[in-house]
Symmetry: C2
Subunit: 892 residues, 2 copies
């Protein structure tokens, strides 16, 4: 039997793969194949499939049979097309070896460039390029990169400088020059020798001179880099399965560093920050691609339009023909892919090569604009437009920005790499960012530049500020992906890691000082600046309108106050899915009455306390009903353990004891006696309502009186009274009788009929398992996914902090189940309840009201299992609306 | 359409019902019908079905159509048979109206006797009986009973004497007599007038003179008494569904109080205390049945054999013909029912009437003896014998008894009403018993006599002592049903409720003093007497042998120490289902090392602490393996939250800080930081094992080294290593790898192969829901039903005390789910896990190791869903074995 096909060739205008083969070839490989087929100038090469990666891990680092032959054959085809020989000492073929997973993971995995150089072939390269300095510069870079990436020569201590860079610095000092470019071919030759010596000394292995050995070394390194810690972290943060694996792309090298007619750059077919329809990008003359991405040199603009943002000469001016060809290619690619593309190109001696095209990352603002523009341009339809916008990213749009009217002390300005505002204490290392954030502090991570090793700190920080790098630098790309405010390339700030300070002019900012970043303007501001809610654009409103057209799930909001209710309506909520009455109890003016009620020693005393609270509750409900005119309002009866309301300081107890006219000691004992071992699983929810019926009675009366009075004002009121923590149908039967009796009495006394419902939270596994019985009493179920997650996992949200991060780190859990609904466990419990509930009562209303109601994958799950609505915090309502549309459209 | 049949007649040698109709007619009604059919002398009457009771409640107190006519027709048939007329002023028919549920609920519901008497018919009764005093005594009793039971004339305050009894006492004082029997017919006439006046005054209703009105009043009262609080409590304690309802039996009165040739009694066909095959009972001359049951007069023995225990003349001596007839009847009944019968009889002017027969309650000792004797006698087969013994009752046999060699200060001796020993503080009211027991105290309830109102206190007490009443008094019957030590009829003790003391001779025992009761000898002992484990009888061993023959479920024990393991084996355990390793950590000598381990600030320090503990753990395991030779031993790795082991007093922290050489403050902060909000849902179980791998590693090493060393001693060892609190398969995968690697290393170093298994607890809903995946890693599941009950219900066992009793009181839950497995909720979760687990791994070993493993209904559930074993505390192993046999036999 012939071996399976593991290698896909591309080049010379034809490719074995195409764009549909992302799973097998990775995004980069599929893109290279597709571009080749489109007639775009792509250096020839081949892709080793992701399947090989999976086999490589399964077999403990062994390659499948036949791979070697397929690679060798493909390499020969490359040689034939470019007319060079791999390892040929006169006319050597050099290749790049790059990773490429199904989705882009920028900078997470390894790359080796200039592979194929050795002490012999370098001479051929020098000869052919007629540029000895270029040849040795390439050789120096290759040895350095190979030593680092393949052989693993890293700094030995955290504070050690990169040892290769140290040798370069030493060489520059020795030669009395300042810039790398001032080093001569001779200097670089010496450096190559020194690099190889370093490798031998530190690693006790020789640098491999055999190009084939180099190639297999690099291929293995790329496969291994799939599972390096930063790639694992990245996948975790972006919910990318660890099983996908990466492909490896081996491609003939082209050189952007052949002199002043060479260069390399990155371009976006539309502005990735605003979504504006303009060709946008950056390039560096006489450089290799990694120089752009690494953000070490500040790049030049692509065209004259962009030049306003920079005072460097643009590509359009420097090489008008190349620029024109690039414009044609970008237009072709966007029309072909029908989406904004992120293109990498290299110019070698005036000849344009495209090295990569992929769907460009973009800010949420840009995503919305591009999606809507493309519908208007006829490129895509509304459904596609909706799917183009990541609901979870909407969060950024909805978060506060800096108040434009606020006084602010701007100390510097960088590039606005990722929008939004961030306020926090300055820290200078990723580790410090993580540590301080873990203590609940807001921090701004300030770095000269960031690298993949910094992701955990970027994740922990509220905002990121770098001194170097452009809009496509590591910091910028990663921050945008995270939806995090980011300012890059802010050259005015001088960072001193040693003293943990940065200086701008004569201002010194120390670690722990507060600064504010404006990711939309690039401003760096001293101190804390007030922020305001964003004004949502017309594009946003249109997108939401489209989403509403396609979604089936209703979206409600969790709102406890009239203000919350109004915000919710503004964001498009169709009702209140959870109004927590206890929040009303906590208000400063009320807490005393509440405490007296709880500490009552008999029903009479308790009723006296409740009588004080009742009119306040009623007024709250009236305001909410008025605000939600005609929309349903689900009100949850008192839920938390009573002792949460209690005073714990002796001074507070003293005061209440005085008020109640009882001895301090008596009250203190009472307070102590209410303490629970596991309050989460204790005397709370309907258990309170059953043992102290007068509490719920008061609440029901307040709700129904409010409903009657507002109805009399001519406003339609749709209250839904929700009983929390039901685990057994008889709990609900018992309370429902009280609710119905009380409601009847109230409505009779007002002579008003209110269309109210009685239902229950499903937040205990037993409630879900016995949902068939509970549905006989409940007119609606609201899944309390926060508590359900706690009980299904047996995991206290408050205590999980000790080990949950470790679990996610180790891949034991894919994500925090309190953020992303655990579909396999908690979701299955919900599914069982839906099935049983509907069987008993086909028209039962079903929704969720946990935090998950505003998270995309969770909302899509709710759609799939057939819920009627989700309810989430007001600011997340748009996310839920869009997610619901995604779900409906994906269903087809 | 004809109405449904609601009334079943019996009398004159023929009945419409029979013994198979218990559901419809209740136990009493079915028994009366069956006896009538058997030709046994039963006063004629009729039974109103339990269906009417259900309809009565459904319709809010309305009777179904047709009932009135059916009752009137049946009443006419009774009149015809006895030749008397209901309300006939010359020859009146009197009836009794009694409750009768499917199973007996002695004394819980209401009864009315002598119904049909009024100012006119009483004269006819006096005339016919030629006994005016008897007639007016009956009338006085009827008015009193009707006033209490039907009209609800009760004491108005808790400390008020019964107001009817108060009038009797006043009359006796007025007449200068001491005994009720000394009151003349005239006195009784006056009393009737005074009773009626009392009713009019207190209730503002006249006493009904119309016999039909009396009858319907009494029927309604009986139906209503089904739902009186004490009946509800009784049903709760005995797991009787509230939906069954009671039947009402209306039956012609016969009179045991017609003079010295009349009497009434209760008899058992075998001794209900020992099971001995002897006819056993008690009777009172010239009395009505209620006098026997109420235990107010001390009754006389039935026969000469019994006379040894009493110095009163026996029935056999007083009325030899009646006794002979009774003997014939009892033998007939026992042969007919093939079970020990509890018979109520009345002798009216020398004529014997049987009023009731039912399966007699018995002690567990008697149950076993009777069951085995009946097999030997050929009455029943082994399977029936097994089903005759209530497994949950076995507990009594297995509980300690008083050490016969102990010195004891016996202060009094009563009747040994219910076996076992009890030690506790003396209390004099049911409420005090409940209160003190709630505080964790052991109490002995001391009463002159008990009444149904005292059940909650009897339930709370460890033992019951009464001054009056016989072996069939309320106290005796109820205590035996509860399996509670009880001494009755201890006339030597003089109780003074006022001063809360009792006196025996010159000894005064105050409330709070400790006494010991011996329920097997009737001894009342001052102070606390040592107790010893019971010696199990040959009958017990034989029953267990039969049980083992029929059961399919295996039975293991939960045992943490070698001593536990040996006890478990003695009781027939077939392995250890749960060995909790943390119990080993708590031992005084070890806790310091454990604390140092927990408080370690790094892995190195932690390992040092663990090194101290490891050899101790290993020795424990070796001892257990030796004890359990050849039987499987399931060892659970460390489970509880670490902070459970921590010192909490400052003085303890101080000491440990000194030992560890760190400052007190540092240690105190560390201790605080380990405190959790909901430790039950916190950092425990496998979460510890994953975050601190060295802890589990130590334990696995200790287990496997112990296994290897004991194997080398020539003993077969079958360790099963169990990972607790798994919720996600990857937790188990992670730890299993460690367990397997560590085990391999240990076995290699010893050159020994141990047949070990790795499995997991299923104690979280998520584990059950994802059991299909978990089974891929687990070789066995052990359902931790304690924790599973906590998480499925969202109910903390430690905090449930605030409301769980109230829930059971109110019928919201049928029983404490920590005692009786909740089959509907928790059970369903287990069923899902069993199904999913077996699907993945058909030969997976399945068991439970919660407290439920020793409770009958729970064990039967485990059988039904196909588990392989249950594991329970060593003392409950016999219960589990017998329950397992029940399950298998019931399956058919």
């Amino acid at each position: 039997m012939a071996n399976k096909k593991y290698v896909y060739f591309f080049g010379g205008g034809k490719a074995e793969g195409n764009a549909s083969m992302r799973d097998l070839l990775g995004g980069k490989g599929a893109g290279l194949a597709e571009m080749t087929n489109l007639g775009i100038p792509v250096p020839p090469g081949f892709t080793i499939t992701t399947e090989v990666c999976r086999l490589y891990y399964e077999r403990g680092g062994q390659y499948p049979e036949g791979l070697k032959e397929q690679v060798e054959e493909a390499l020969k085809r490359v040689e034939r097309i470019v007319g060079k020989g791999f390892g040929d000492r006169h006319n050597p073929l050099l290749v790049s070896v790059r990773s490429g997973a199904k989705v882009s993971m920028p900078g997470m995995m390894d790359t080796v460039l200039n592979l194929g150089l050795n002490d012999e072939t370098v001479k051929g390269l020098a000869e052919r390029s007629k540029n000895e300095r270029f040849a040795y510069d390439s050789y120096r870079r290759f040895v350095q990169m190979y030593g680092d990436v393949v052989l693993g020569l890293k700094p030995e201590r955290e504070d050690e400088e990169d040892p290769f860079e140290a040798l370069i610095e030493a060489k520059k000092r020795q030669k009395g020059v300042k810039l790398d470019t001032e080093l001569t071919a001779e200097d670089l030759k010496e450096l190559v020798v020194e690099f190889k010596g370093l490798i031998k000394k530190r690693l006790d292995v020789p640098f491999p001179e055999d190009p084939m050995e180099q190639l297999w070394g690099a291929i293995g390194a790329v496969f291994r880099s799939w599972n390096n810690p930063r790639a694992i972290t990245y996948r975790r943060l972006h919910n990318i399965p660890h099983t996908w694996g990466t492909a490896v792309n081996v491609q003939a090298m082209v050189f952007g560093n052949m002199g002043e007619t060479s260069g390399t750059g990155v371009a976006f077919t539309r502005d990735p920050s605003t979504g504006e329809k303009r060709f946008y990008g950056e390039f560096l003359l006489n450089a290799q691609g990694e120089d752009v991405v690494a953000g070490i040199r500040t790049p030049q603009p692509l065209n004259k339009e962009q030049k306003m943002e920079s005072n460097l000469p643009s590509l359009e001016e420097l090489m008008p023909d190349v620029y024109r060809e690039l414009v044609e290619i970008y237009q072709k690619l966007e029309r072909h892919y029908k989406d904004m593309q992120d293109i990498e190109f290299t110019i070698e001696n005036g000849k344009l090569w495209i090295l990569q095209t992929r769907t460009g990352k973009r800010t949420i603002k840009a995503a919305i604009k591009i999606a809507i523009d493309m519908v208007r341009e006829g490129l895509i339809d509304e459904k596609t437009a909706i799917l183009r916008v990541d609901p979870n990213q909407l969060d950024q749009l909805l978060h506060p920005n800096i108040d434009p009217l606020a006084k602010k002390h701007v100390i510097a300005k960088g590039l606005p790499a990722s929008p939004g505002a961030a306020v926090g204490e300055v820290v200078f290392t990723a580790n410090d960012a993580e540590k301080e954030a873990a203590l609940g502090k807001s921090v701004i991570l300030v770095r000269v530049e960031t690298s993949p090793e910094d992701i955990h700190g970027m994740h922990a920080a509220k905002g990121i500020l770098t001194a170097r790098g452009g809009m496509t630098s590591h910091a910028a790309v990663v921050a945008r992906g995270m939806g995090k405010c980011c300012v890059v390339g802010c050259g005015d700030i001088k960072i001193d890691y040693e003293s943990q300070t940065f200086k701008v002019g004569d201002v010194t900012v120390k670690r722990g000082d507060i600064i504010t970043l404006d990711g939309s303007t690039g401003e760096v501001i001293l101190g804390e600046v007030p922020t305001i809610s964003p004004e949502l654009s017309g594009d946003f409103a249109l997108l939401m309108e489209w989403a509403d057209k396609y979604r089936r799930l209703q979206v409600r909001a969790n709102a406890d106050t009239p203000e919350d209710a109004r915000t919710a309506l503004k964001f498009g909520a169709e009702g209140i899915g959870l109004c927590r009455t206890e929040h009303m109890f906590f208000e400063e003016k009320r807490i005393k009455a509440v405490r007296e009620m709880i500490l009552a020693t008999n029903e009479e005393e308790r009723k006296r306390g409740l009588e004080k609270i009742e009119p306040m509750q009623k007024e709250d409900f009236k305001d909410i009903f008025r605000a939600m005119e005609g929309h349903p309002v689900t009100i949850r009866l008192l839920d938390p353990p009573l002792h949460e309301f209690l005073p714990h300081k002796d001074s507070e107890i003293e005061e209440i004891a005085k008020d109640m006219g009882i001895p301090f000691e008596t009250l203190k004992i009472k307070v102590e006696s209410l303490r629970e071992f596991n309050p989460m699983l204790g005397h709370r929810g309907c258990r309170l309502g059953i043992t102290y019926p007068e509490v719920y009675q008061m609440q029901v009366r307040a709700i129904m009186e409010a409903a009657c009075e507002v109805t009399k004002e001519g406003i339609r009121v749709l209250p839904e009274i929700m009983v929390p923590l039901v685990g057994e149908v008889r709990e609900l039967s018992f309370l429902k009788k009280m609710i119905v009796d009380t409601s009847k009495k109230v409505m009779e006394s007002y002579g008003v009929t209110v269309d109210y419902k009685v239902g229950t939270m499903i937040e205990l596994p037993r409630a879900a398992i016995t949902a068939g019985k509970i549905a006989a009493e409940a007119e609606f179920f609201s899944f309390g996914t926060n508590d359900l997650t706690q009980t299904v996992f047996g995991l206290s949200r408050d205590d999980a902090g000790f080990f949950l991060p470790y679990y996610i780190e180790k891949g034991i859990l894919d994500s925090d189940p309190f953020v992303v609904l655990d579909q396999e466990g908690v979701g299955e419990v919900i599914r069982i309840a839906v099935e049983k509930g509907r069987k008993t009562r086909p028209d039962i209303k079903l929704g969720i009201c946990g935090e998950h109601g505003g998270e995309q994958s969770s909302v899509e799950f709710c759609h799939r299992i057939g819920l009627d609505y989700v309810s989430c915090s007001p600011y997340r309502v748009p996310i839920a609306r869009l997610s619901a549309a995604h779900a409906a459209i994906k269903e087809g």
